[in-house]
């Protein structure tokens, strides 16, 4: 296509094509004069090819972005929903773990039966009494069960149980202490029940049980406990009993 040089700049010239289009054209200053006629390539085909490529790249980018959003969204929404779903309706890895824990529980019960009665005097008074007094509670099916680690110190870990927030951390003072905080975050539901902590050794054997009673645990209530960690205790099983009303 014929064009005429209208203006010369350092790295480009402005040309006017014979069909009245004004274009920038790469010609270095010094090689042409204003008013010189030149032949320029018609960019229609080139542009369409470029546009075609651009469209493809843009389409792929959009598709990829949508895919990423869907994947990330589904993962997060699943995690979000999981904390509000009853444990029975969410067959997850946690459930598989619980079944393993049940086996461990049976072994613990056996151990407890085999331990002589005198040993019970060595246990902290509150703990054993609470455990025995709530024998009925043990008979109920738990709302939640999970084995949690005690290895990391000063790291706050949270568990959401149907609106009950159970958070804990291991404090490293002179003696290691397990600090737990239980909070009812429901808007209107009151919790009636208890939380059982089964302190365990690394091999899964239970050393002792600590019961935290939560009678009439209204929305907004907070309860905090500190439990000393004995030698060899590396994890504990959190068991929640009770109901919301």
């Amino acid at each position: 296509m014929k064009a005429i040089i209208m203006e010369i700049n350092k790295k480009y010239c402005i040309v006017m094509t014979e069909d009245g289009q004004f274009l920038k054209h790469r010609i270095s200053g010094g090689s042409v004069e204003i008013g010189d006629g030149i032949i320029i390539e018609e960019k229609n085909n080139e542009f369409s090819l470029a546009n075609y490529k651009k469209t493809w790249i843009r389409g792929l980018a959009v598709g990829f972005a949508v895919l990423v959003v869907l994947v990330v969204g589904s993962v997060f929404s699943y995690r979000f929903l999981k904390q509000y779903l009853p444990i029975s309706s969410a067959p997850t890895v946690a459930a598989a773990k619980i079944s393993e824990e049940n086996l461990a529980d049976k072994e613990v019960e056996k151990n407890l039966q085999s331990v002589p009665q005198e040993d019970s005097a060595e246990r902290p008074l509150g703990e054993s009494a609470a455990a025995e007094d709530n024998a009925e509670t043990f008979q109920q099916s738990p709302l939640f069960e999970k084995v949690l680690l005690l290895k990391k110190e000063n790291v706050l870990t949270e568990e959401h149980i149907n609106g009950i927030l159970f958070s804990y951390q291991v404090l490293s003072t002179e003696q290691k202490v397990l600090q737990v905080k239980i909070e009812n975050r429901n808007d209107s539901l009151k919790f009636e029940g208890s939380i059982l902590l089964e302190m365990m050794l690394e091999d899964g054997s239970i050393t002792r049980q600590v019961m935290i009673e939560l009678p009439g645990f209204n929305p907004g209530y907070i309860k905090e406990e500190k439990i000393g960690i004995e030698n060899g205790e590396t994890n504990f099983k959190l068991v929640v009993y009770g109901e919301f009303n």
């Binding site: 209208m6 270095s28 008013g35």
Partner: protein, 236 residues
């Protein structure tokens, strides 16, 4: 009618007696002078930075003063004078390092005499290319009066042939309609309502192409023969 078109040669004659006219002429021809000098030197030059452009400007003024209307067109003549002076300058620049000043000035004088003679012989030849160059210079000057730059035209120039054709048609309508053209020239505003009635083009479309339409109108009025649209129209 709307442009009392004065030929370049007439402007040059006027410039000989009027400094204002000379300044306007130089201002209009600055891009042309730069392009001639740049082509001779073979690189991009900037006013206020490169000495070659100062030489070009003084050569242009020399051409204005020594131009004789009976012998031909000014554009060819001025280009020859500019080229000759730039060559003088370049040779002087390169020889200064090796040859003594007396010898150099003698050479320079001889060269200048020869080139001037050559210039005076050559400038009588009419060149078709020169008329296009002159049209472009005048067109640029016209657009400048309307505060329209070529960069802006690149930006707003329609890429689609059909749209460009619609704007060209609008420009033709303006040219053919004295009232619309008169209003455009008087107010420097495009009478979009009038054009809309005649062409049935949407108002917004006309508004978007306002500057381009004005540029086409000015090109036609200036008789920019390069444009297809101007062919057969002859301008005004």
């Amino acid at each position: 009618m709307f442009f009392k078109k004065i030929s370049l040669e007439e402007r040059v004659i006027k410039s000989k007696n009027s400094n204002d006219e000379l300044n306007t002429l130089i201002s209009d021809f600055k891009p042309f002078i730069a392009s001639v000098v740049q082509k001779k030197v073979g690189k991009y030059l900037e006013y206020g930075v490169d000495d070659e452009l100062s030489v070009g400007l003084s050569a242009f003024m020399e051409a204005v003063n020594s131009f004789d209307v009976k012998k031909g067109t000014f554009l060819s003549f001025s280009r020859l004078v500019i080229n000759a002076r730039v060559i003088d300058f370049l040779r002087k620049k390169s020889k200064l390092r090796t040859i003594s000043i007396d010898e150099d000035s003698q050479d320079e004088n001889e060269l200048s005499t020869v080139l001037n003679k050559k210039s005076m012989e050559k400038y009588t030849l009419e060149n078709e290319e020169d008329s296009v160059k002159l049209e472009v210079i005048e067109y640029a000057s016209l657009l400048k009066n309307w505060n329209i730059g070529f960069n802006e035209l690149v930006r707003i120039s329609p890429k689609k042939d059909t749209l460009r054709q619609e704007y060209k048609n609008a420009a033709k309508v303006i040219i053919d309609n004295d009232n619309i053209l008169d209003e455009l020239m008087r107010t420097k505003r495009l009478p979009i309502g009038e054009i809309e009635k005649i062409l049935k083009i949407h108002r917004k479309k006309l508004e978007r192409g306002r500057i381009y339409i004005i540029a086409i109108v000015l090109a036609i009025l200036n008789g920019l023969s390069y444009l297809d649209i101007c062919k057969g129209d002859g301008g005004r």
